[in-house]
Amino acid sequence: MAAVLGISGEYHDAAAALVVDGVIVAAVQEERLSRVKNDARLPIDAARACLAHAGLAAGDLDRVVFYEEPIEKLERVMVSTLCAFPRSLRQFPRAIGAQLGGKVWVLDRIAERLGVARDKVTSTAHHRAHAASAFFTSPYPRAAVLTVDGVGEATSTALWHGVDGELRELGRIEYPHSLGLLYAGLTAYLGFEVNEGEYKVMGLAAHGQPRLRDELDKVIRLHDDGTFELELSYFAHFADAELGFGPVLEQLLGPRRPAHLAWELETDRDRRYADIAATLQQVTEEALLGLAREARRRTGEACLCLAGGVALNAVANARIAREAGFERVFVHPAAGDAGGALGAAILGSLELGDRRPAGLASAALGLPIDVGLASALAGELGLRVRPSGDIATEVATRVAEGQIVAFCQGRFEWGPRALGQRSILANPADPASRERLNRAIKRREPFRPFAPAVLREHAARFFVGADSDMTPFMTTVCPVAEPYRDRLAAVRHVDDSARVQLVTEGSAPELAAVLTALDRTIGMPIALNTSLNGAGEPIVANEIDALGFLMSHPIDALVVGDLVITRGAA
């Protein structure tokens, strides 16, 4: 019986997660509280929020587990930058400075900042934390586990075998050979921000054709045993962590795309960049497929769990589910570094003799929204507040009329996806709503698709093969059924796929009620569901963020609990 806090941070996506007596009690990403996008600093506020939610104090903790081994990371950073001499002249002092100036002392700092005894603070390997986050929250008693990201301490990719409460490493691929760094480098080449723009590359890929395979085959070689090798002359992650690619890549693919230019996919210039994205996506899918097949061959398991930033590639996950030979696939909803906090907490809990947690039924592991405070503050701000007797029908009616509604219910989600707790809802059949959302509210590139949320029991009617262990958490895509392709125009991507979320009473009861009401009003239990955040901002956490969003974005209404809040005098 133990209370264990897991911590990730000091690189990007800092988070804290609390496991008490083998039960996942809370998991919070620091950015939601600090309002700094991808906040990397030690997640002290998130840790305190988790403890407060459980009614615990720092002194009640039996263990705090950091998701990475700091000394091993220092060693890798030092050796890799030194070996890149003289290209890493500027990077070396900066990288070593960051390590010695803080990161290497992270366990002491956690103990000091949280006020826990130093001997209670331990660490675990980065990829082990990822693997634990995926396997121990999956519904499988035994599975192959793949963790794929940029880099942890020295590992970029690892293969594991999970059986009940145990995880055994079967193999690893080490830095600098990394699918995450390949994707990040090309993300920067295409003019997007690394660690932020990878989703955009995935969306862009559907608009292109994989015509540059010969070129990309020079950048990465795939081997028969599932491993891969980067041709390092094209990269610069050891010399320039921001950019990730070198001038040789521009010689191969042409000049990088300037970040500020508006996307015009009908022009030759941008079609070529879309083709590069499509080729990158194809190569990434094939690399992941190779790894997954190797995992299947080595473990003989019927189920696969995935984690690590690359596992957020929903399109690749769909291919793995179709082609790798597994019966079932699960991807942790916070597959990126934030998820490592939960994995670290679970590992600590298991070590202290607690049982393995139950499979994740809902990602609503954050802090609840305060409906009373939202009402009072909205009044203070001069907004119109009205309780609704039937909030689900009211939301459905507004959405059916083409309105855009911000929807806040209960505890916020764990991971980068809005799953009905902090969502923006719109009519899935109305392309005008999509345009308005893209241009006026989210201010994002026109090629990026929106996702549908659908009631699980009706999903098969609208989407092909939607019922999987990934769709409750929006970590895969599936084709829109032929008869509904025109009607679901606002949530269908250019390749007729959609990143579907299957909703049940258990996972998001309020959203399920809205979808039921939508079935009555528009004849489909489906809503366009996107995250409740402005451009470049973290997803809304509390009532203050939600009201701020309403006041600064042209949405039609904000729903908090059973309150309908609109602009204009009360």
Binding site: L82, G300, G359
Partner: protein, 256 residues
């Protein structure tokens, strides 16, 4: 007027005179104007985050609303400064900056509400004075667009300056106590500047030392790297994996 207030007034006037003197030179340096506007965008973005955190932490509903409104103004200002910076850079055929990202110093948590308010008030007053100067400067130069930008933001800055002062007086119970808090905030800012300068010097010394180490150790490491085979294959060979149990039901009940 006390002696300390007179001294403060003199310092402020001196600073203003200096800014007036260098402004025409500084803004004419190619690319510098855009960089400066981008700097303002980042500062507004940082202020936005601090104010959102203040809105989360203050116990008063009324102040929560005030801080939230202020934070939304800062968001708008950040966007306006960034947009103008982008326009100027594109006009000079330079690549614009990416969306401004700022950090937070968690000022509300560190300073407490009273000192935080004093700090914000001082920042707003400084910003207002600076922006008035810049608005006049761009008006005189005939750059109506940049002048309009500063004037639009000035309207908000004046309001922020005034409400933070009123709140501060209300919280500490009078003008005299408010002035004392402003003085303490000024002292804290000076201490912060001193520490930042110290960090910058230490950083430079450290970078120098690291560069020296790099220049000595780098060539040896690089030579070593040439002979070291970069392995991309599986690094850890598996022991025999536990046998899969095909009869077992792979699904476990997901707990609710």
């Amino acid at each position: 007027m006390t002696r300390s207030r007179a001294r403060e007034g003199t310092v402020r006037a001196g600073r203003q005179a200096l800014v007036r003197l260098v402004t025409p030179i500084v803004w004419r340096v190619p690319g510098h104007g855009a960089r400066k506007l981008y700097g303002f965008a980042r500062a507004e973005q940082g202020s936005r985050i601090d104010l959102l955190q203040a809105a989360q932490r203050t116990p008063s509903l009324a102040r929560r609303a005030l801080y939230l409104r202020h934070a939304l103004d800062e968001t708008r200002h950040a966007r306006m400064f960034w947009r103008r910076s982008t326009e100027l850079l594109l006009a000079e055929q330079r690549e614009p900056f990416t969306a401004p990202v700022a950090d937070t110093e968690a000022l509300f948590a560190r300073l407490g509400e009273v000192r935080f308010l004093a700090f914000v008030h001082r920042g707003e007053r400084r910003g207002r004075q600076q922006f008035e100067l810049y608005a006049r400067h761009f008006g005189a130069r005939g750059d109506a667009r940049t002048r309009a930008l500063f004037e639009a933001i000035l309207t908000d800055e004046r309001r922020h300056e005034s409400y933070t002062r009123e709140l501060l007086v209300e919280l500490v119970g009078g003008e005299r106590a408010a002035r004392r808090e402003l003085g303490r905030a000024a002292a804290w800012e000076a201490w912060r500047t001193w520490r930042r300068a110290g960090r910058a010097v230490a950083g430079a010394v450290y970078a120098l030392a690291m560069t020296a180490i790099y220049l000595v150790a780098g060539p040896i490491a690089a030579i070593g790297a040439r002979f070291r085979r970069r392995r991309s294959r599986w690094q850890l060979e598996a022991a025999a994996p536990p046998a899969a149990d095909p009869a077992a039901d792979p699904a476990r009940e997901a707990a609710s």
